[in-house]
């Protein structure tokens, strides 16, 4: 690339604001992309946590002396079902702890009418006939409900995918805005430096020679703005991370907020944004200049 600039871009006010506009765009794009990546990671964590588990919910325990309401039968059925690795009934205190973030610690579980839960782990490689198991459970323990979390997870995945599509749409719109900004700036530069450009043209400079000068300038300004935007975005993301950590603490307890952090790989991918912005600015400037020069005699 020709680094010698025959065109006095430093005297051209049109390029003065381009780095800041690119910085703003990279900042917004980085936040939108981070949101999409964080949602993807959160979904993967939830999916991983729930895959291979089932929950059996039984009606509240009957009064003392009237049996266990089918709990033992249900556990026995589960442990003898092919593909089930373990079936562990949750103690009343454990069920109460699940509700504690919403109800608080002051309400004793024994005062609540709570369903009984059985935590089931299954062999994901082997699979379980869930429809058959549901029918057998109802026979063994009337009122039993088998929850494989799939419906909830599918709806959550749909919601997250919609949010991700929106975020990526925002990134695409920001990219279009960046392209339009570079086109406008480049055209202004072409008008401001028309005399020098015509001079180079008349000396026999090929269109590519002149376009290279504009594209190098756009690359320089785009890269500078991109780095500024990325720096601001990283600072914002770090602040958001601290805010999320602070919000999940409630006294000495931790609220079950979903993890919205980025993986190491995601952090490593973010610098691609300013690089992409710089390359986009460079290519846009080149195409704009070549198009304008093609109209010269």
């Amino acid at each position: 690339m020709n680094r010698r600039l025959d065109i006095p871009f430093d005297r051209d006010g049109s390029g003065r604001f381009l780095p800041w506009l690119i910085a703003l765009m990279v900042y917004l794009a980085a936040l939108a992309a981070s949101g999409a990546l964080a949602l993807d990671r959160a979904l993967a964590i939830w999916d991983r946590g729930l895959t291979g588990t089932l929950t059996v919910e039984l009606p509240p325990a009957p009064a003392t002396g009237k049996g266990d309401g089918g709990l033992a039968a249900a556990v026995k059925l589960l442990t003898t079902t092919p593909g089930v690795l373990a079936a562990q009934p949750l103690a009343r205190e454990e069920v109460g702890k699940l509700l504690e973030p919403w109800l608080g610690p002051t309400l004793p579980p024994e005062e609540l009418t709570l369903p009984r839960l059985i935590d089931v782990r299954i062999d994901t490689g082997r699979g379980v006939d869930l429809d058959g198991l549901r029918g057998a459970l109802v026979k063994a323990a009337p009122g039993a409900v088998l929850d494989d979390h799939r419906l909830w997870l599918d709806r959550l995945a749909g919601l997250i995918r919609s949010a991700q599509a929106t975020a990526l749409g925002i990134v695409a719109l920001i990219g279009i805005a960046a392209v339009l900004t570079v086109i406008f700036t480049t055209r202004t530069g072409l008008a401001v430096h028309r005399d020098v450009i015509e001079l180079l043209h008349l000396m026999g400079a090929r269109d590519a020679y002149i376009a290279t000068q504009f594209q190098y300038q756009a690359l320089r300004l785009g890269a500078g703005g991109g780095v500024i935007g990325l720096g601001l975005a990283l600072a914002t993301l770090a602040a958001l991370g601290h805010a999320t950590d602070a919000a999940s603490m409630f006294g000495e307890r931790t609220l079950p907020l979903p993890s919205m952090g980025l993986a190491l790989w995601d952090w490593a991918a973010l610098p691609l944004l300013p690089a992409a912005a710089a390359v986009l600015a460079m290519v846009t400037a080149r195409i704009t200049v070549l198009g304008a020069l093609s109209r010269m005699p």
Partner: protein, 228 residues
């Protein structure tokens, strides 16, 4: 070298600025281009150095119809043409050295040769002490010499000059004319637009005279055309 056949040009919907220009400049010829202000001298030069396209007619340079050439081929043609602009058209932010070096750099000449050639030529035109000077710090005459140095640095086959001696004293004007004539002797074709009738008379080269947008072929030119 340069051939115009029935060439005319107009700007937009305005009247024709030049009409029915027919001329043929042989390789190695030296012509003065004269005429009153507004006669179309600069427009004719602009058509020769390919800054303007004719509205009608055919322009051929170096035996090639320029209307048929690709953009890269036109760029190659332009590299064979040196131009001294009336208003110099120096690049303000570049030094004298870099201004003069532009045609060589545009042509991709390596920096070692650029440095040697530019330094030598700037010494010849008396600007050896101003290699790093920006045009704004130089006098009108110095700028003109810089513009001439830039026009001849790449050894053009065709040199077009619009009032090249207008801002220099008689001694420097003679010196620059000797440079042009030396280039002409070495094979460069020259067209030099001027108002300086004394210069035209003193040098005795054939004249292309424009009057009201029409080329008037005077006897010296008629002889030149006949000879070619």
């Amino acid at each position: 070298m340069v051939r115009f056949e029935n060439v005319a040009i107009r700007y937009g919907a305005g009247p024709e600025v030049l009409h029915d220009i027919d001329m043929r400049l042989a390789p190695g010829s030296f012509h003065f281009l004269t005429g009153p202000s507004g006669a179309g001298k600069t427009t004719l030069l602009r058509m020769i150095y390919l800054a303007e396209r004719p509205t009608r007619g055919t322009v051929s340079l170096f035996e090639q119809d320029v209307a048929q050439l690709s953009r890269d081929a036109l760029a190659n043609l332009r590299r064979k043409i040196g131009i001294v602009f009336q208003d110099f058209r120096l690049v303000d932010h570049l030094s004298a050295f870099d201004n003069v070096a532009l045609p060589l750099r545009v042509a991709g000449v390596d920096e070692v040769r650029v440095k040697a050639h530019v330094t030598e030529l700037l010494e010849w035109v008396g600007l050896a002490d101003h290699l790093e000077a920006k045009p704004a710090t130089l006098s009108g005459g110095q700028k003109q010499r810089m513009a001439i140095a830039r026009a001849v640095i790449a050894g053009p086959s065709l040199l077009l000059a619009d009032e090249p001696t207008g801002n220099v004293d008689d001694a420097m004007a003679d010196r620059l004319m000797r440079l042009f004539e030396e280039m002409n002797r070495l094979g460069t074709t020259l067209v030099l637009a001027t108002h300086n009738e004394a210069l035209v008379a003193r040098r005795g080269h054939p004249r292309l005279h424009l009057d009201n947008g029409r080329l008037v072929v005077e006897s010296p030119l008629a002889r030149a055309v006949a000879a070619s």
